[in-house]
Symmetry: C2
Subunit: 292 residues, 2 copies
């Protein structure tokens, strides 16, 4: 029988831990951690994510600031706001919610953020430091995945870990972390992607599969060996008339058929998803403590 990796429960537990730490920090005369979020336009997904982030800040006792720009904001205005936040000593960390409108250069925006406040971990300095194995802000999804592995005590040393997807925000960084020395890490890591020739065979050799390609139900039972650990990073919105919102989130794994073969598996929703926000909170707490 497989064990379900309960990201919701773990994230609640971590929020409680963070809230406790914030309480002590403030009791000791420290500053209340402060996360700022910049949002551009009115994309439904982005607005939902940002609302969750702001709400999570409240839950753990962080101060939060939400700065909203209309869709037609200029790159210059956005850069000016970023400079302001870089210099604002009260703000410990901030993020610019992605994606941005087409007329704005996302990479330029990311690189404008002071890497010491880049709690999303997207700045090249943080990406590079993570690759080298130095202290840094690790981006939310990879960090959340490793935390789930750690909390469930899943063995990684010498295990074959197959990552499906080579995105800059999930596939590449999680591969980088899984191959680092120490735990969770020390895995033999294979990164597969759209050009991979023998994906099924490679997946069948995996002790741990991290599916992050954004293709609903992609990973089928014949691609998974008995006893494998399966981490599903997919969160594609699919129409669902029965849902209040009109859609539901679907993962990259054909859960019903894959789960019976697994030792551990994450559900969607309620697996990796809830972990991403706590990773952001942990980075912000880290940023706040560096400032003390």
């Amino acid at each position: 029988m497989y064990q379900l990796i309960d990201g919701k429960a773990i994230s609640d537990q971590i929020k409680t831990e963070i809230a406790e730490e914030v309480k002590q920090l403030v009791a000791n005369g420290g500053k209340q951690p402060h996360l700022a979020v910049i949002i551009v336009g009115h994309d439904g997904g982005s607005e939902t994510y940002v609302a969750h982030k702001v709400k999570s800040c409240e839950q753990v006792g962080f101060k939060s600031t939400r700065v909203a720009f209309e869709e037609d904001v200029t790159e210059e205005m956005l850069l000016a706001k970023i400079q302001e936040m870089n210099q604002d000593a009260d703000i410990d960390g901030f993020i610019v919610q992605l994606p941005l409108p087409g007329h704005i250069d996302e990479q330029k925006i990311i690189e404008a953020i002071d890497y010491r406040k880049d709690v999303d971990g997207f700045h090249p300095v943080n990406v590079g430091r993570m690759s080298i194995g130095l202290p840094c802000f690790v981006s939310a999804t990879p960090s959340g995945i490793l935390e789930l592995i750690r909390r469930y005590g899943i063995p990684t040393r010498g295990k074959n870990c197959v990552v499906i997807g080579r995105s800059n925000i999930v596939g590449k960084p999680v591969a980088s972390l899984m191959m680092q020395k120490g735990y969770p890490g020390d895995a033999t890591v294979t990164v597969c992607h759209s050009r991979t020739a023998n994906l099924k065979e490679i997946c069948r050799s995996a002790d741990i599969i991290i599916a992050a390609l954004g293709s609903p139900g992609f990973l089928k039972e014949d691609m998974v060996k008995d006893g494998a650990v399966v981490i599903d990073v997919g969160t594609t919105r699919v129409e669902d008339a029965a849902a209040k919102s009109g859609f539901r989130l679907k993962g990259d794994v054909d859960f019903a058929n894959v789960a019976p073969k697994c030792s551990f598996i994450t559900p969607v929703p309620g697996g990796v998803g809830p972990m991403t926000i706590v990773s952001l909170l942990r980075n912000t707490l880290l940023a706040a403590k560096h400032n003390l």
Copy 2:
């Protein structure tokens, strides 16, 4: 019959190309590219490498500067020299020859170099930009390996590429490059290391093996499938009474027995080694052109 990848010939060819480009650059009123090298102490290997770098600069028409410190130089003095070079408009790129004495924090030294002059590609900004797939200075050995693959037209798309070794200067960056979109890249990349459980089996599934673990003769014929491409990054000094220097370089591959199974293979010496210096020259040329 296998084809030998002749790094010496390719590096000579690239030097000729660079020399031609420098000639045109200067003829058009541009500045002569200028590489500076800082060396600390009197390690035999380091002195040889630096001498090669300086000589290669001469060969392609670069200006070069060699700054030597004694073993007991303080970190502060070294940092002061780096600041000076960061600000010296005549110096396009510079490197600090590694390793450094134990009392100096190597990472601190690397991060003190302006990443726009970091032609060794070790600064976290360059490591991060490479991982993300942005223009950057790629470090010499990974860059040299990819150039050999490119010049020999070795197919990489959808191929299984196994990297043995997870060092920051070879294993991790070459894995990162081989999985990027485009050519050479688009390979399915597996990174193996000291914790890997089933190395032989994994190597036998590889179309391309990049051996970078620093263990002479490690890769044996029973670990390589017929027709594989083998890139040997090892350069361990082993004693050899017959050699004038008293030693010779030995690769990570048991060449005599592995080569007959290969489609392409690099020798040691004369394979990857000669490519590292031309990668450094190419980065310096790139730095010089950015300044124009």
